[in-house]
Subunit: 333 residues, 2 copies
């Protein structure tokens, strides 16, 4: 079988462009014992990939020039020489931006999304959902009645993080880039308030929405949005730094206000969220997210882009705020 894959042609500067990538076609080898042939259904595009393209050594290792852009996919088994996997099974794999692959059976996880569609394994029950859950419960630690602010609130991580805080009894204020996203946050996701950071009165509106200050700030964005939120943190605040979307396409990171002085004055803490640190609670987190979603207590969104040839466009969309919820590219039905 022939497959197509997207490899890194050169390191992007600023917003990644189609010309930073190259499409390759390759012939897959015949299956060996223990292997399966996979056809890609959904490809995930994620902000963390930007740092790997840039060649940064952290938090994830860099892609080298010529490497396929690896990442999470959902695939269907179309041929199998591995006893535990049958044709038609859906699996979670990590081979990335590629229309299909040969894989060892042991490296794959069966998709188990219960009553939810398979795509949920890349979103609310996948890394982004887990990051929202673990980051909020382990770093944010909201208490009933506290005020929680989430930036990038309509994204895959932020929308889960905010709802987890709501379910913990906190008042939740979302920050997003459009009025449409804000309506969704308040209407479908039960946020107490949602603010468009492009509105001219955003700083005043945020202050008005947080009259007691901000006890938890769950930050996916950084930059000017954080510069508006941080002065409002309350004594003893927890700041979970989960992403810095505003910085990923910059050649030079922006400086920040005097964060050490702020944390000292408010007796506050700022912590980077790395999902792998919370591996021990993945089973509990997945079970809880699945239960809440099934009960209708937690609402999730997906933005679905159709077609392998649109993967780079989808990746760009992440940085333009074009998606609501988890951004996926559908490669095959």
């Amino acid at each position: 079988m022939q497959v197509r894959r997207i490899v890194l042609a050169k390191r992007p500067t600023g917003m990644p462009e189609e010309s930073d990538f190259r499409i390759e076609t390759l012939e897959l080898p015949a299956l060996a014992e223990g292997q399966v042939l996979l056809e890609t259904m959904y490809v995930s595009v994620d902000p963390y990939m930007r740092g790997r393209m840039a060649g940064l050594a952290e938090p994830a290792p860099p892609y080298n020039i010529g490497d396929v852009i690896t990442g999470s996919v959902i695939a269907r088994v179309v041929d199998s020489r591995e006893g535990s996997l049958s044709v038609g099974d859906l699996v979670h794999a990590g081979y990335g931006w590629q229309t299909g692959a040969v894989a060892k059976g042991g490296t794959l996880q069966l998709v188990e999304t219960g009553s939810l569609p398979a795509s949920a394994a890349l979103g609310v029950l996948g890394s982004t959902g887990l990051t929202g859950y673990c980051g909020m419960t382990q770093v944010g630690r909201p208490k009933p009645g506290e005020t929680v602010v989430v930036s990038g609130a309509a994204g895959a991580v932020g929308s889960v993080a905010g709802q987890v805080a709501r379910l913990a009894g906190a008042r939740v204020v979302g920050i997003a880039s459009t009025d449409q996203k804000c309506s969704l946050l308040v209407g479908r996701m039960g946020f107490d308030a949602a603010l468009n950071y492009n509105a001219s009165d955003f700083p005043d509106a945020l202050r008005a929405a947080c009259p007691q200050g901000v006890d938890v700030y769950f930050d996916n964005v950084g930059g000017p949005v954080s510069n508006t939120v941080l002065p409002l943190i309350a004594h003893g605040a927890r700041i979970a730094v989960c992403g810095q979307m505003s910085q990923y396409n910059l050649e030079q990171l922006e400086t920040t206000p005097a964060i050490p002085t702020l944390l000292l004055n408010r007796g506050a803490v700022m912590e980077g969220v790395q999902l792998m640190n919370y591996r021990a609670i993945y089973p509990e987190a997945r079970a809880q997210l699945a239960e809440w979603t099934a009960r209708g207590d937690l609402h999730y969104e997906e933005t679905l882009i159709e077609g392998f040839h649109r993967i780079v466009e989808a990746f760009q969309m992440l940085f333009k705020g074009g998606n609501i919820g988890k951004l996926l590219v559908r490669i095959s039905e």
Copy 2:
């Protein structure tokens, strides 16, 4: 009895000057039942007072113009109408930069420094020692073999914090402003290394002293020193922000490098140290510090300035790096 006191005449800009203060003389009232007459032995000068002089609302409430500069003192009871206190008793009080005072017996704590001199109640067994102990054990949490860096390491807080880390089995690297201080840190206080940040090779020397990166950074200084340390933090590092001495006399705080991105990439945490949060462990902390000091495992230093008229000079000395260990002004023997 007549006493003298120092009040705030105007808010300092930059380094506080004598002209920012005024000396007042006042006649103390006769003792009422339950009161004692106190003669000041030692006055404490502390960096946190600078923010209160500036009128900042945090972390401590501001001094108003005309207010006496309150803070910790050790005083001797010279007359008593309070049954539990006798003439000659030494007490810990909070009336500040004043040669004596009338106080209610109930507001005073007896000085209990065991075999150590009374002045230790303002230093190694007082707020600065407790801050070093609690900040290091509760926020830094060093493990055996980890690398701990302490800025302002020869100061009252830093010298205790560094030795607490050494006693926990960590490798400790101190940063100070003079070679003399560095010699003391390595020689008397058992630091594994100490670096003068005024040396031209400081960045290289720090990197060489921390080949595995920095697991704990206990920061009293901020500014350029922190900008040199922070890029070296290891994965999972803890940064205890205990002071920002380099910033206290600035009209405008310096911006900082992209701290959220750093914490995100390294899965690290930065936390402001506020002593009051650790009230529950004061007794344990004091007992441990007293035991270590008595056994010779923990060495402390004092810089003693003589005379009430030199209090402001002593306060300035804090910001010029003129002191080693706890800076005290002796008012009477």
